[in-house]
């Protein structure tokens, strides 16, 4: 194991401990690590964006191929920066409107198709009692309908509508419970990974120091 790896891993260990120290209470070590991660992420992203966006899409076409029209979208991009001035902020609306128009035009038909039509289609299932699948299909249809009834506020939630809404909220709660359980699993995974990293650091250092 080379010295560089040990030093970098020790710095990583120190920063991990700094972040964990927040569990006790807020402190300058935590603040230092927090600001460092935000700064490093922003800096890394800025450079990645510059070399993967600006250089191949603006700089090279304009300077090496003389394709000056690549400057037009770049100017639209620069126009968004006028938001920092109260006097000139109105200029940014042109580029935002342009961007919104394209984004909505590209996304809307596909979003409707993938998130609404196909999902609706997936709830139009055959209900039968020949096997367990028919029962599951019925449960999906009931769940979707009752969940929708809960969000239907034009009719008072009384009687049959109230019953369906109550079943709807139960189904929503089961969904939130599943989401919460998976979130806990995710957070524990992150913690477990850091603890595992600490153990690996300890083994690496002891091996480097004593060869054991």
């Amino acid at each position: 194991m080379d010295l560089g790896t040990i030093i970098w891993n020790t710095i990583a260990l120190f920063l991990t401990v700094c972040i964990f120290s927040f569990l006790y209470k807020d402190n300058p070590f935590y603040k230092f690590a927090e600001h460092l991660v935000v700064g490093v992420s922003a800096g890394y992203f800025a450079i990645i964006l510059f070399y993967n966006g600006f250089v191949p899409k603006v700089w090279i076409p304009v300077t090496t191929r003389g394709e000056w029209w690549y400057l037009l979208p770049a100017i639209l991009g620069v126009m968004t920066w006028t938001r920092f001035s109260k006097k000139w902020a109105w200029i940014s609306r042109f580029s935002i409107a342009f961007y919104m128009g394209i984004a909505v035009g590209v996304a809307l038909p596909l979003e409707m198709q993938q998130r609404v039509v196909k999902q609706l289609h997936a709830t139009m299932l055959p209900v039968h009692f020949m096997d367990i699948q028919g029962f599951w299909n019925l449960l999906i249809i009931l769940g979707v309908l009752c969940g929708l009834v809960y969000f239907f506020f034009s009719v008072e939630h009384k009687g049959a509508v109230g019953g369906a809404a109550r079943l709807g909220i139960w189904i929503l709660m089961i969904g939130f419970g599943a989401g919460f359980g998976l979130t806990v699993m995710g957070r524990i995974s992150l913690l477990a990974d850091r603890i595992q990293f600490m153990r690996e650091w300890y083994l690496m250092v002891t091996q480097a120091l004593w060869g054991a």
Partner: protein
């Protein structure tokens, strides 16, 4: 203050301490827990297994280093399974902080299997605006990526010679920790009918089951559990499997805390009513 009220007002730092101990114990005394494989993970494994040597698969590594704990084992296991079967890979990294991390993983696994860039795999790297990149790749990979991550033109790479777009790959597996997965579903599957499977973090998993039920994706790996299932099936790595013992002890402790908290809540409410 009686016992139940004290339970309700327990300092959260005690909870952190007990969960911390519950996590440390299995790290110091490792043990294995059985891994039960679900159909949604098996579908992805079966798909990769069905590929022939020389077939091309697209692997999207769309996560940042902060999600490595959960989804890195998935990417590693799939990559190792593909390389072991001589399946060629086109790889992208559309999450802004991920390209360096992805390159590290690719070169490590490629070295292990003796695979070469441009012949056995092609790493495209990162380009901004993932939705537009996914759409553009549907026309031609060369539109967003005229060169690969290492600056080599795609046309000069032997494995990319007859490869234009998604029609030339057998399927896409997207390993993600953010809304790039939505873009793959909406633009990749919606616009180009790409055969798509996903691996996501635990937090995201529940949101994507409806897409599995509707057939918009054919497989789903959720969090570390999904990763451990894939490792168990493919026998490519065991990091996630090892961490499942930590998950088990931590979950038991959290369930006990939830039960204790509820008992405290109901008992103190009962007493306060009296």
């Amino acid at each position: 203050m009686d016992f139940y009220n004290r339970l309700m007002n327990l300092d959260r730092r005690w909870v952190y301490l007990v969960v911390g101990i519950a996590v440390i114990i299995p790290v110091l005394n490792p043990f294995r827990v059985p891994v039960f494989v679900t159909q949604e993970v098996r579908s992805i494994y079966d798909f990769v297994e069905s590929l022939e040597p020389g077939d091309i698969m697209f692997l999207a590594i769309d996560y940042d280093p902060q999600a490595m704990a959960e989804v890195h084992p998935m990417a590693r296991a799939i990559m190792r399974q593909c390389f072991a079967k001589d399946v060629k890979l086109i790889i992208s990294a559309l999450s802004q902080n991920g390209p360096g991390m992805a390159e590290q993983l690719i070169s490590e696994v490629a070295r292990e299997f003796g695979k070469k860039s441009g012949i056995d795999y092609c790493y495209l790297g990162y380009k901004p605006y993932f939705g537009l990149v996914i759409l553009a790749m549907g026309q031609n990979f060369r539109i967003p990526f005229p060169e690969d991550y290492y600056g080599v033109p795609l046309d000069s790479l032997p494995m990319m010679r007859d490869v234009r777009n998604y029609d030339d790959v057998k399927g896409v597996v997207d390993i993600s920790s953010g809304n790039i997965t939505d873009a793959w579903i909406i633009y990749g599957n919606g616009r180009y009918d790409v055969k798509l499977a996903i691996g996501v973090t635990g937090v995201m998993t529940a949101n994507y089951y409806p897409y599995l039920a509707s057939g918009q994706i054919f497989g789903l790996m959720g969090g570390l559990k999904g990763a451990s299932e894939y490792e168990a099936l493919s026998k490519q790595g065991d990091r996630a499997i090892k961490m499942m013992s930590i998950q088990t002890t931590a979950h038991i402790v959290i369930v006990l805390f939830i039960v204790a908290g509820n008992i405290g809540y109901f008992m103190s409410r009962k007493k306060n009513k009296k």
